[in-house]
């Protein structure tokens, strides 16, 4: 080969390779893109109202393309169950999530249904130190195959941001940031800390968080000890602590917080930026990192300093919150720290009266602004495949402010009128998100907006366990313990059924529960009798039925069920829900009471009462879409050869 020919060939080779490479693509058209917005708790009735009011012009555009459809939710219609239906295409009989709370069938001890921590297998103990020889593991309790595996198997990029019921995230080729179900650093779903020297605020009530009494000894300094996670490297797992010095300047009604070398100045009424904290398990050797936000409620005359639940630091996560693991830290470096806990809004603090409506809403807006930053960041770099983005704001804020929408709420009159526009404003913000997704759309991009359920008012609380006791299904032997959790009041040997969680009822079976009282052959008749009795309960105050449907689980899900599955799922009627006391097994006096908690909206009712929504740029070819259909339908938009097995293809773009 002559030198000139060689040079010509060398010059042409890269071009030829490039051409060959292009030819290897599935199509010559631009990459297929599907943007899925998962808006937890977007209600079809409210959405339609806001569209008609002109508050949601972008949703109106989508409604013009594919219509506004009611999306069938799960039974029970709780977010962990519903999003598991979405992810797997199957119901709780397959994915195994029946409620926020499950219980050990034998001991009846409740636990969070979505994930659990498994301690290290082997530990060396030296004095009171415990050195694990293997790492602790966090296990995702949801079963079933996620639908996006079919996409990633075909080389289609998938990004799922703040994906519910996916903590720890599924291992695979998809990029995932865990959402709902991700705990805070104390292992709870959100436990705040409130420092105060106001004796009226100091109580032993530990629900939702802890109140820490502090004192100024004349130097305007408060030593505030922040309790973090348990230290599994010490015998007895003591709580790890970080000390913050809070210097009050009462003349300016402000304070300075000195914490681990960082100084933060805040005036009364201000929220801090994220503050990083390091909890040492073994000083200078092993530590875990957390982030939190301070809020100065009051400096004068009394210190009232709120600290948000300690979130897992996305820059240096103590638990796996993303897949790949570097995804969360990359995001934190690119846009700054962000809420990692599954329930980012501090609803417990509002329910406990630690935060006022105004203060809670400030925090809720911080959450939403942060989430919007994350969304725009991901959208700006989305080139190909599927982008799923989850918003929690509508769900949690509708829970807290449904009382302003419903004039029958016991708290409606006492809620300041200025909050009445809060939910409208939230829907407007979500509409802007839909607008941004539509703006990013080209001829090869589809936009789908869906919610897992709608909303209903929660005006009256039904004490399921008290009702069971009054009807003779449970035997209270210790009246003084009625208000204690974990069935402290009853005698198991003479109890037939008990309620635990938000919608679940269990038979006290002798072949399953410790000290169970009901033999297996008695169960079918007992369930039928309970169903009849429950569906007959009426509210003496209104004369309305409290329960729309009591579902026998084995009728609803005929296949084999896991031993922790409930025996009955209670579908409450609109305006009713199980009381908070029911969820953890106590027996307060009175069967039906007014709900005086700001948590005034609910979806833990009968699924027919609270359908979700589906808006799409793709018209539907089948009626009555359901959450379980979405995985298959989204996958079909990419034309993958093997679709996920669960659900139906409601878009049917291939026309098959």
């Amino acid at each position: 080969m002559k030198r000139r020919e060689f040079l010509k060939l060398a010059a042409l080779s890269p071009a030829a390779l490039l051409a060959m490479n292009t030819g290897c693509r599935r199509t010559a058209s631009p990459a297929r893109r599907v943007i899925v917005l998962g808006i937890d708790g977007m209600d079809p009735f409210l959405l339609r109202s806001f569209i008609h009011e002109g508050v949601m012009p972008n949703a109106a555009i989508l409604m013009g393309s594919g219509g506004l459809n009611r999306l069938g939710t799960s039974n029970p219609p709780q977010s962990p169950v519903a999003w598991s239906n979405f992810i797997t295409g199957y119901g709780p009989d397959v994915h195994g999530i029946f409620d926020f709370i499950h219980r050990n069938p034998s001991t009846r001890i409740p636990y969070l249904s979505t994930s659990r921590v498994i301690g290290p297998d082997r530990i060396i103990s030296i004095s009171d130190w415990r050195l694990p020889l293997s790492g602790a593991k966090v296990e995702l309790m949801r079963k079933g195959e996620p639908f996006w595996n079919r996409l990633t198997d075909e080389g289609i990029p998938v990004t799922m941001v703040k994906l519910p019921v996916d903590f720890p995230p599924d291992r695979g080729k998809a990029r995932i940031l865990s959402g709902l179900g991700t705990p805070d650093m104390r292992g709870s779903q959100g436990s705040f800390t409130f420092f105060t020297d106001d004796p009226r605020s100091i109580t032993d009530n530990t629900s939702g968080g802890i109140v820490v009494p502090v004192r100024d000894y004349g130097d305007n300094c408060y030593v505030c000890t922040i309790s973090g996670p348990e230290n599994s490297m010490r015998a007895g797992n003591p709580v790890m602590k970080v000390e913050a010095k809070v210097w009050a300047d009462r003349d300016t009604d402000a304070l300075r917080i000195d914490i681990q070398g960082t100084r933060i100045v805040l005036a009364a009424g201000e929220w801090s930026q994220w503050v990083r904290m390091r909890f040492d398990a073994i000083p200078n050797i092993s530590s875990v990192h957390a982030i939190g936000r301070f809020f100065v409620k009051e400096v004068t005359p009394r210190l009232k300093l709120y600290l948000s639940p300690l979130n897992i630091d996305p820059l240096n996560p103590a638990l796996p919150i993303s897949e790949p693991q570097s995804y969360s830290s990359d995001l934190a470096r690119e846009i700054g720290p962000f809420y990692t806990q599954g329930f980012p809004e501090d609803t417990k603090a509002l329910s406990r009266g630690i935060l006022s409506d105004d203060e809670y809403l400030q925090q809720a807006w911080i959450v939403l602004r942060e989430r919007l930053d994350l969304f725009h960041h991901e959208l700006s770099r989305f080139r190909e495949g599927m982008l799923f983005f989850y918003f929690s704001s509508l769900d949690l804020n509708t829970h807290m402010f449904y009382r302003v929408l419903d004039i029958n709420s016991p708290l409606h009159a006492s809620t300041a009128p200025r909050f009445k526009g809060a939910i409208r404003e939230l829907y407007r913000q979500i509409d802007n998100v839909i607008g941004a997704a539509l703006s990013a759309r080209d001829s090869n991009t589809e936009v789908i907006v869906l919610s897992d359920h709608g909303f209903a008012p929660f005006n009256r609380s039904f004490n399921l366990n008290t009702w069971l006791a009054e009807e003779g299904y449970a035997n209270i032997t210790s009246a003084g313990a009625r208000n204690q959790d974990m069935f402290a009041a009853i005698d198991w040997a003479s109890t037939a059924a008990y309620g635990l969680g938000l919608n679940c009822l269990y038979i006290n079976r002798s072949d399953r529960e410790e000290n169970g009282a009901v033999s297996p052959e008695q169960v079918p008749d007992l369930l039928l009798r309970l169903k009849h009795d429950l569906e007959s309960v009426t509210d003496p105050a209104t004369g309305r039925h409290v329960i729309a449907n009591a579902y026998i689980t084995s009728d609803l899900y005929p296949g084999p069920l896991p031993p922790y599955a409930p025996d009955m799922i209670i579908g409450y009627a609109r305006c009713y829900r199980s009381s908070w006391e029911t969820t953890l097994g106590s027996y307060p006096v009175g069967v039906i009471t007014d709900n005086l908690d700001p948590w005034s909206g609910t979806h833990c009712v009968d699924p027919g009462v609270v359908p979700g929504i589906l808006l799409s740029t793709v018209p539907l070819s089948l009626p009555d879409p359901d959450l379980m259909d979405m995985g298959k339908s989204i996958s079909s938009l990419f034309g993958v050869p093997v679709l996920p097995s669960g659900g139906r293809d409601i878009f049917n773009v291939s026309g098959s």
Partner: protein, 272 residues
């Protein structure tokens, strides 16, 4: 004299890092780390007695071999072990001189890297807490005058009598150099730009210049009656993505300077 040394040193590092300005920060940090490792090994070669170290290493090798060959004879093993310990002690004595010589340049490099790669520059969206320390008592409330240029002062100013400290927040505005003026004393605060190798001020001091030579993140401030003695700005730490981890600059420096020193010793046949 020390002020001039500090200016020259800052200038040297500015020039060294000039080519890296358009590139990610890690590149400049790696460059200085590798250069430092190489520099330290060359200084070690010049200052240490390479012949003696070489002989000592051979002797130590001999002792180890002796132990391995006479494992069945405990007395001989103990004799060789004693010799080995003695040789190790002598070796450590040989190291003292080069370590002393290296210590000062190392501290200077350490300070420069901390100033340039230790903290993030001011962010236009995140307020920075400024804390000022007084030696002769806090000014009376209301008499403390704080002027700002290129910054927005976010009230309130928190006075802590017990500590003789005052704290307040500032937010950068515009794109120019930022200064505080407290009791008539002008103090440079820093920049929002953070090009690779940019020196980021994390405080000021009106005291000795020597401190500013070794801690170049401290800016200079004059001391007048009633003005603060020193101050600090709360800026977040920076971490660098290396080998899938998130490393502080210190870890990057220690690992890569050591690596470069080991390679340098091999290439230039330095006995260590």
């Amino acid at each position: 004299m020390i002020n001039a040394a500090a200016i020259i040193l800052n200038g040297v590092f500015d020039i060294l890092l000039l080519p890296f300005r358009p590139f990610p920060h890690l590149w400049g940090l790696l460059f200085i780390s590798l250069l430092s490792g190489l520099g330290m090994i060359m200084v070690f070669r010049l200052v240490s007695n390479q012949d003696k170290i070489s002989r000592l290493r051979r002797r130590m090798g001999g002792c180890i071999l002796g132990i391995l060959l006479h494992l069945s004879n405990p007395l001989t093993v103990m004799e060789f072990a004693g010799k080995l310990i003695w040789s190790n002690t002598v070796y450590l004595l040989y190291l003292i001189k080069p370590l002393i010589v290296i210590a000062i340049p190392l501290m200077l490099v350490w300070g420069q890297l901390d100033a340039r790669y230790g903290a993030a520059a001011m962010d236009k969206e995140d307020p920075v807490t400024v804390t000022i320390f007084y030696e002769d008592g806090l000014p009376v409330r209301g008499s403390l005058e704080i002027g700002v240029s290129g910054l927005e002062l976010i009230p309130p100013v928190v006075l802590i009598d017990t500590l003789d400290e005052a704290s307040f927040r500032v937010l950068p505005v515009g794109d120019f150099h930022r200064t505080l003026e407290i009791e008539g004393v002008s103090i440079q605060v820093g920049r929002t730009e953070s090009w690779n190798g940019c020196r980021i001020l994390r405080g000021f001091d009106s005291g000795s210049s020597l401190k500013r030579l070794f801690c170049p993140w401290i800016g200079k401030a004059d001391k007048t009656e009633g003005s603060p003695a020193s101050g600090c700005y709360s800026l977040p730490d920076v971490r660098y993505g290396v080998l899938g981890g998130h490393w502080y600059w210190i870890a990057v420096f220690l690992v890569f300077s050591t690596l470069s020193a080991i390679i340098g010793a091999k290439v230039f046949n330095v006995k260590i």
